[in-house]
Symmetry: C2
Subunit: 406 residues, 2 copies
């Protein structure tokens, strides 16, 4: 006898949690479909190189990696954009463009478990391949916002940034390790950033740009704002509120141009529930480069945010409980259960040969609303009794009319 | 530039495949729910011990196992029954019985990829906890059969065996390594079995028993058939055809008593699509033993079998294509797309600023049935054109009446 617990940082989901998750998954999936996106899926693990290509050592640290029997390194996917691009390069390059793909899948992150961060977590997201007109990027951002609104979130904040502005300014500053500057900004480690580039003549101007919220004032930093403005003007057609936030740096090196994040302030410190933007991965993977953009939604955090906002999930109907009295009725109950199930009704039949009292206690504990009691005398005259567990009232109905009463 | 392919033995799923998988998942899930089962989920990886507890080295060979940072071994789950029992012991022992739980999840097997066998594969299955009356076991078997029928399979064969018969007979033969005998039977390695126990005085009788299909003749082998007969008599109420097959040994050591398998003959050699039975795992995991039984369905093989049987999936509706002509109309199209999506209609809007001809080609390639054309003149008089891609016919309709025509 041993005691084996679930691995640290992972979760088991109870029926009431799974019901919420499945309902939310369905609702969110429908929004992607309404925008003309189609679902695909990729394997749970990939060759490790796929994730280290552009992201380097930092990613390995937090990735579950292991060798296969031939010694080649595999990794549990930390995110799903690179796998979708790998799929695209392997199989989908000839498909008509734009390709609008979405996914829902589990990802893995090997860091210290903390509130709202699990070692296994779920992402729903999408990739728009082959198209980067301003209206396309605007629609992509609108889709992310719409999914979250349709999920039921009331309070969300959309922030939009632009990595081209950051990178071109860092170039102007003559800093070689752009990636490191971006990482420090992404992690909001401004003290370290100050240590690193504080002496630079453009440092103050750079910090000012990071804080600039007014698009009309961005030009003075010498960045090319035309396409950014175009996207924002298309976005305004969707009536979606947003803030300019040039301090968005995204964790992954393959992002370019416009990036965006959505927060749920109800979550406190770990508030980001969506991240996305334009990126370049295809040529790295050996394919012919076409424009790509996408976003990923943190499914677990969305559920947590809904809870914090007091969202009320409407639970699905509980089964009807079938309570046969005596051996003969137990056999009749098998057939009746089959008939009701064929009509699409959820039926749980007593399997324990319990007394009426114990059966009613069980049905009550399980939250069932209706119990059908099969007594031999009633059955002979063609009736059964239905007990309403909420009112406690019981009525006798004809077998043929049972369906009407359920 | 590198070329990274998907790991050997894994699969990417195209939209048309995912659509079938999601539709089938939904259909099968509904059958479990109609029987009063509730969905749960467990992590994708577990501590390796969970799977080696009772199954020994054979399992490790085929399991993706890896050490975490503290050196403790983790494993990608090869099956989901042991995780559900681990969950039960950790969290659900106090829940009202019977507990009827089902799951749908991916599993991993590290063997040579072959037709219908993948390194990552999906199982839908259930566990019935706290109840082992004959009618409960009969209902469990009926549920497995019903799920497969509802999935659309026409030709399936249910075989029912009994491990108690096998084990008690092996005891009588005085053979110590029962597990090895069971494994050889499970893998149908009868030559090796002959080598191992061919000299035993009861060998021929044992082999005769394995082939016996008639329950009334089983008693002569000195086994206790009462409960087996009870289950079969309850099962007959469900009108489900079955065969007795005492050569079912199940691969895993924790099965006891009644076991069953369902085949789809259309699949040829790898025809088994369901396996289940009663088992004992709880006390091994440190819990208080209660009766348990369940089964797992091979989701991928079910889809393959449906294909072989010529099952026709009805594809979901394709999006309506919105084709605005000119800059002004492109803006109007954003609002129209929003309105239609709010009505629950799938809409794909031209994002590439393509010509009418190219747009129609794209819509056609994507299999879309209807294209809404927004021309400036028409728009001014309050109309749009709908082109039916199948007939090629085009008609002008009022904007307000657009919904009726979709």
């Amino acid at each position: 006898m041993v005691s084996i617990s679930k691995p640290r940082g992972t979760r088991d989901f109870l029926p009431e949690e799974m019901e919420k998750r499945r309902a939310m998954e369905k609702k969110m999936r429908e929004v992607f479909e309404k925008y003309g996106y189609e679902e695909i899926a990729t394997p749970t693990f990939e060759h490790l190189e796929l994730f280290t290509l552009k992201s380097g050592e930092g990613v390995i640290e937090e990735t579950y990696a292991f060798a296969d029997k031939s010694g080649r390194m595999l990794a549990l996917r930390p995110e799903i954009t690179a796998p979708v691009m790998r799929f695209y390069v392997e199989k989908l390059q000839m498909a008509p463009k734009p390709l609008k793909l979405f996914y829902f899948g589990n990802c893995f992150r090997y860091d210290r478990p903390q509130s709202g961060r699990y070692r296994e977590f779920w992402q729903m997201g999408c990739e728009l391949i082959g198209c980067d007109t301003p209206e396309a990027i605007a629609e992509l951002i609108a889709l992310a916002y719409d999914v979250l609104k349709e999920a039921g979130l009331k309070n969300i904040i959309l922030r939009i940034g632009n990595l081209d502005f950051l990178r071109s300014f860092i170039d102007k500053m003559g800093i070689k390790d752009k990636g490191e500057v971006m990482r420090l900004i992404d992690k909001e480690e401004y003290e370290k950033l100050d240590e690193m580039i504080g002496e630079n003549e453009y440092y103050e101007e750079f910090m000012e740009m990071l804080k600039e919220k007014d698009i009309t004032k961005l030009k003075k930093f010498g960045v090319e704002t035309k396409k950014f403005e175009d996207v924002l003007s298309w976005l305004s057609l969707f009536n979606i509120p947003y803030k300019i936030d040039l301090s968005i740096a995204r964790g992954l090196d393959y992002y370019v141009g416009i990036v965006f994040e959505i927060d749920a302030p109800s979550l406190g410190a770990e508030k980001q529930i969506c991240g996305g933007g334009s990126y370049k991965l295809i040529s790295l993977l050996g394919g012919k480069e076409v424009p790509t953009a996408g976003f990923a939604l943190g499914f677990d955090r969305i559920l947590l945010a809904l809870e914090k906002e007091g969202f009320v999930f409407s639970p699905s109907e509980k089964p009807v409980y079938l309570l046969p009295i005596g051996d003969e009725m137990r056999k009749e109950a098998v057939t009746l259960a089959m008939e009701l199930r064929n009509e699409g009704i959820k039926v749980e039949k007593d399997l324990m040969r319990r007394s009426v009292q114990k059966s009613l206690q069980y049905a009550d504990k399980r939250g069932m609303k209706k119990v059908i009691i099969l007594g031999e005398d009633e059955w002979k005259k063609g009736t059964v009794s239905i007990k309403d567990m909420e009112t406690g009232k019981q009525k006798e109905v004809k077998k043929e009319e049972l369906l009407i009463h359920l």
